[in-house]
């Protein structure tokens, strides 16, 4: 049975800042919900459903979506809260449109970690009886990941610092990420040990911000978009929670998710022009690149330097990680590049998009986009 294709017809983002201290959640959300329609000829009245991603824990508020429904433009519409990165919200929206039950959906993800305790957000995810009491959490998981990776790959701390610096530089060039100047290699190496061997700046930097994506059935997409990007594949997989039991040599669940997405799309990583990849640390990003098939195991660094697929032209998650929205930002960045080839030198036609959730990137989601 032929399923309806789903297109990305609009994207909007706020600036990603360490702290949006002058704006509330609803201000960030309504800003992107207002601007996502620009140039489409559509309005909120045309939207069949709204799916949002955010965290009650980061928001300090139970059922926080309830308080944001007006800003989300969801009044009297069908609304759902996916409490995972917004890329999973996009997956839900894709299913709704592919079922034929809806034609136009608004996917929103937002984050305001500046108002919260990010360390607690991660620690509260950890199994409460055996792991939480010993202090296991996101930092420890990433530190162990990095130690193993450096030992197995021969990659050095200097390499990690260089890759981190290049991501900040790409984000600066791309725009939309607030930063006080570009950090150099020394600054990254000297930013203080956070989880040996990783320094503080080798972790993804939590930022505030919101992102919205407007998706639509193929019919609507072709009517409102000049050069639309279509979602042609999607996959997701969750690894075991027990960190000790995970495959230490790679992100198995990211591999599963990618295999599912590529099977839908009918092509593989070798044919991708660009990739937008998430990572909770610089090593997390390398592991994701390898799991997506953009490099052999332990060879991710080379793929970031001279791979055929251009990876994280936006800068990726290292300079700007709006927790719960990072993967959807990757989708927005990839869709923009595919839909507006004249704005970019590469003129890409195929993109891979990756999002992750959980301690040590336990949960992974992969999309393929094409024009």
């Amino acid at each position: 049975m032929a399923l309806n294709r789903v297109g990305v017809v609009g994207t909007a983002q706020t600036e990603l800042r360490p702290a949006w201290s002058g704006a509330q959640h609803i201000d960030l959300i309504s800003s992107v919900v207002t601007s996502v329609f620009k140039g489409t000829g559509l309005s909120i009245d045309d939207v069949d459903f709204v799916i949002d991603s955010g965290s009650d824990v980061l928001d300090g508020r139970s059922i926080s979506n309830c308080g944001f429904l007006g800003a989300l433009g969801a009044h009297h519409k069908e609304e759902a809260r996916v409490e995972e990165d917004g890329l999973w919200g996009a997956l839900y929206g894709m299913n709704k449109i592919r079922s034929g039950g809806s034609a136009i959906g608004l996917i929103v993800a937002y984050s305001k970690p500046s108002e919260s305790n990010v360390e607690l957000y991660w620690n509260a995810q950890v199994e409460p009886f055996y792991q939480r009491p010993v202090g296991f959490g996101q930092r420890a998981a990433n530190g162990i990941q990095a130690q193993r990776y450096l030992a197995a790959s021969g990659v050095t701390l200097q390499d990690l610092a260089e890759l981190t610096a290049s991501r900040w530089s790409a984000a600066s060039e791309n725009g939309g990420v607030a930063m006080d100047g570009l950090p150099d290699i020394e600054a990254i190496l000297g930013s203080g040990e956070d989880a040996a061997p990783l320094t503080k700046m080798m972790f993804a930097r939590p930022v505030d911000g919101a992102v919205a994506i407007l998706i639509a059935s193929e019919d609507v997409t072709r009517r409102v978009s000049r050069n639309p990007a279509f979602i042609t594949g999607a996959g997701t997989s969750m690894d075991t929670h027990s960190y000790a039991e995970r495959d230490g040599s790679g992100l198995k669940s990211a591999k599963n998710a990618a295999a599912m997405a590529y099977r839908n799309a009918g092509w593989t990583s070798a044919q991708a022009d660009i990739a937008e990849v998430s990572g909770s640390s610089v090593v997390g990003e390398l592991l994701a690149i390898e799991a997506l098939g953009l490099a052999e195991a332990n060879r991710g660094l080379a793929a970031t330097q001279d791979g055929k697929t251009r990876i994280n032209l936006s800068g990726g998650a290292l300079p700007a990680d709006p927790i719960m929205a990072t993967g959807l930002v990757r989708l927005a960045e990839a869709a923009k590049r595919l839909s507006q080839p004249e704005a970019y030198v590469t003129g890409p036609r195929r993109a891979i998009v990756h999002g992750a959730g959980g301690v040590g990137m336990q949960n992974n989601c992969v999309f393929t986009l094409e024009v």
């Binding site: 049975m1 300090g60 969801a74 996916v82 079922s99 509260a124 999607a234 969750m238 669940s253 949960n363």
Partner: protein, 383 residues
Amino acid sequence: MSRPVGIVGVGQTHHARRRTDVSQAGLVREAVDRALADAKLTMDDIDSVVIATGPVLFAAVNQPEKWVVDAIGAQGKSVVRLTSGGGAGFAGALAGYYQVAGGFSERTLVVAYDKLSEGQLQYSISTLYDPFWGREFAVGIMGFSAAYWRARMDALGHTEEAAAMVAAKNRNNAIANPYAHVKKAVTVEEVLASKPLCWPIKLLDVPPISDGAAAIVLSSEKMAHHSTSRPAWIRGMAYCCEADNAAERSLMLSEPLAIASKRVYRAAGITNPRRQFDVVEVQEPYSCFELNYYESLGLCPPGQAADLVASGATQLDGDIPVNPSGGCMGANPIGAVGVIRLIEAATQVMGKNETHQIKDAKLALVQSGGGWANLRGCAVLSA
């Protein structure tokens, strides 16, 4: 046209005030095992899993699906969590429905739970209000609900007696339900005489606080026959919201429920809900809400809910039984309730309800909801 989706297996825990013998993860495992056994499947046959819970503050584990996944053996699969306050289970089932309807999966397992004994319930609910303007005077959800019931008394005649009839009906129905944990015969007079908690809400108008989990297996038409010759087909399902703050809402009819039911009835070919449905299962967090649902779902015109319940039509032996399972009055593990209501309705149209089968039931209506009464949905199931 969507691919048809059916419920082919169901399972729920024996709900309790406090389960000290299992963790959240163990509780979920019980429901999942029962649903898979009922569907004659193992986890290997499941493509995708949806986990639903109420707010994480209820049990103090953030994104608990990432822990629960190991207990149910779903590592490596597509796993995602939906949350929507009281309607979380229903919202999760809707996400699962679209996974199958949209071709993402052939079979999706939806499991919903809350272990309310592990947190401070009304404190957690109070944190849903605006931190600047609403939280100072918000005490849980009861004050809000009482104020609007009071208004509906005047406008729609939803009297204390009418709500007491709902409470007594559901409490007495729960006695036969093997999964309920509050099983005590109650008269209308006893409900009316019970202690006021937030007038007009009295103790026996309020459901218990429970630990419990519930799971369903959703299947495509192609795979359904492996599990059952008589699935409960989902003929329509929607879950809508109302954005306004409390002070700006009428809350006489539930606008989101009216919108959802209109959409679902159109999809399912329902033109006369009172006549067409054989059985109805609703999520009534307080007895007064069931009266509101009668009208919002079109089981009777606005202002006639008190007459409908007084007529006995919604009793077990009435022409439109509502909550033969006992509804929330028998057990109320909040996040699970949306799936429990789906299970109770599904087993009715599958002809396999264990204790309170409505004879020849073929068409069932399910209602669920959450938030501050602003998230409301319904579904139509048929044999």
